[in-house]
Symmetry: C2
Subunit: 353 residues, 2 copies
């Protein structure tokens, strides 16, 4: 038996939510936005000169970096762009968590964090959320090699206040602290105003949810110029050109269409409020969501059963068979019509139970 | 002074060739193809329904994997796709070179290899090419943790025969051997026919050169199903969705337009033959190129001087200030018109010397 396999890195990868091929399903399992991207994105696509594709894209992604810097009121050298926020966070694990000390993140959180830790050999320790899925900042006042958590948290949708984040930052001047704000645009407070106070704070956001562009793969992070420089050095050590010419051009168009962005976020928040009421009536409970999904458990029927019945009916939600959360469903907020389809099925299904 | 910097991975990144912003330059510095992508790529772009961008792309990139498998006569599970061949090779360093033993590659080669080794902590040893920039396969018959080399080699353009590659493979059943064929479509013999004989051989190719799509970032590798599975496991541990919906759709269109691909490659090879003659007349020598560039040195004038003069005149070629090759220029083969512009300038410049 050849021994080349001895040199192979063997990992247990992250499992993304299903992308069903059938039409006519109600897809509420991957926190996608139910609305199309800004019409400005279509304009860019329609007028795009494909002959430029023969050339490499701008490795510094300057146009998109500049559009984001202008939108968020920071300098261009405070912005880093990647292939979705997953690419950005992956680079962060490689760049900022290389000290050999335990990196801290919540026990109930985005299930990619431990996968990145594993692939890059980063030691980590999870910190238990309280019974209401909340962070106690005092738990993070221990020696560590870095901290990362989503806000609002995934898959719970729970928002932590800026006071909590500030308390974590104040206790951790010697660590890079990353706030993963994939879902922040649906009503939560961003930590971006704290970036000018804390040189070790990095905020990560994405176009996948609030800018309707999951299929285009654009994420970014904002922090001090020093953090961004370190991140770029590692990026240029992995792949000089991560962003293609179309991602750059359509990304700029999406960022600049603020009105459309706000309109779609408002619609999703309105549907979320209505959905929370409907789910309550159906016997579900959930922490108050600040994201584009609701993390719900039913008073009598096991989540795994509901998940299977929904799937059978062509309604996809997400179920995590993991400690503490194996009786919950993560339900993406879709259009009002999609949610009505869900509620209608659930009403009938739960009545028969 | 805060100590968060102690946890940062500090690296010396790869420096990509310049992407000048000015128009009217002759750009022969990054081995781009002078012709636009297939007209089929434009058709896909023009008819693309941007509303699908709200959804995540297919993480398995099935359509493009299948198109490549059909084109190269392999099974779908023998194909891996990434964000340019740089992304593919980066994943390879992370996946296959994790054994802690020295990875081998030539001393004169693609200057990203040692950067990937460094960012992922892979030990390596370079193996000297002979005076004609050729590989001696016996040099690779030593204990190692993996082997990688480009064929044709970069930046020399020198092609190694399949006999040489077979000799390396026969001496290295216990290592993953990666042949980086970014430039293979300009007349060299691919190692792909050897994949069915050697389960430890991985061949990497790209859309950036021979398919005119550097700006779209598409690369791929072909090998045994086991190698591809390991690579996918690591990919799903880094970023589930590396390829966006447009890369997938336009990539398929480009692969399927075989006639256009062959036509453009033939044009470049014809221009290369002519350019070699012109450069000889101007006093340059070079190894016979099997790539879309010529690696040339002048009999009397230092390469650094010529490089600076060309740049001043708006003609960009690549110069590497590195041992053994600091008197060479790497000149991409452009259109006949672009090459004429180069020869015209050189004739005048060298006359004045």
């Amino acid at each position: 038996m050849s021994t080349w396999r001895d040199n192979v890195r063997k990992v247990i990868p992250y499992t993304p939510g299903e992308q069903p091929k059938e039409k006519n399903v109600i897809k509420l399992n991957t926190n996608e936005n139910p609305y199309p991207p800004s019409p400005k994105v279509k304009e860019v696509m329609d007028s795009f000169d494909t002959s430029v594709l023969r050339k490499y894209p701008d490795p510094a992604v300057k146009d998109l970096v500049h559009a984001l810097a202008a939108r968020y009121g920071v300098a261009d050298d405070q912005v880093f762009v990647g292939v979705g926020s997953d690419d950005v966070i992956s680079m962060c694990f490689l760049t900022f968590f290389a000290g050999g000390k335990n990196v801290l993140f919540p026990d109930v959180t985005y299930s990619f964090y431990d996968v990145w830790a594993s692939v890059y050999g980063v030691p980590y320790k999870t910190v238990a959320l309280d019974a209401d899925f909340r962070i106690n900042p005092a738990d993070y006042a221990v020696e560590n090699g870095g901290i990362i958590f989503p806000n609002p948290n995934a898959p719970t949708g729970v928002e932590e206040s800026l006071d909590t984040i500030r308390a974590i930052l104040d206790a951790n001047k010697d660590s890079v602290v990353i706030v993963d704000e994939a879902y922040v645009d649906f009503g939560a407070a961003s930590a971006l105003p704290l970036v000018k106070e804390y040189e070790n704070l990095l905020v990560v956001q994405t176009f996948s949810k609030s800018r309707q562009m999951a299929g285009m793969r654009i994420g970014y992070s904002i922090g001090s110029p020093e953090l961004i420089k370190y991140l770029n050095d590692v990026k240029y050590s992995v792949n000089s050109y991560t962003m293609n010419s179309l991602q750059i051009a359509t990304g700029v168009a999406a960022v600049e269409d603020e009105a459309y962005f706000e309109e779609c976020c408002a619609k999703i928040m309105a549907t979320r409020e209505r959905s929370e009421k409907e789910l309550s009536k159906l016997g579900f409970t959930f922490p108050k969501s600040s994201a584009n999904f609701i993390f719900a458990t039913h008073e009598t029927v096991p989540a795994a059963d509901i998940f299977a019945a929904l799937k059978e009916a062509g309604i996809y939600v997400r179920y995590f068979n993991k400690p503490r959360i194996d009786n919950y469903l993560r339900i993406t907020v879709g259009t009002d019509e999609e949610m009505d389809g869900l509620f209608e099925f659930l009403a009938k299904y739960l009545e028969d139970k």
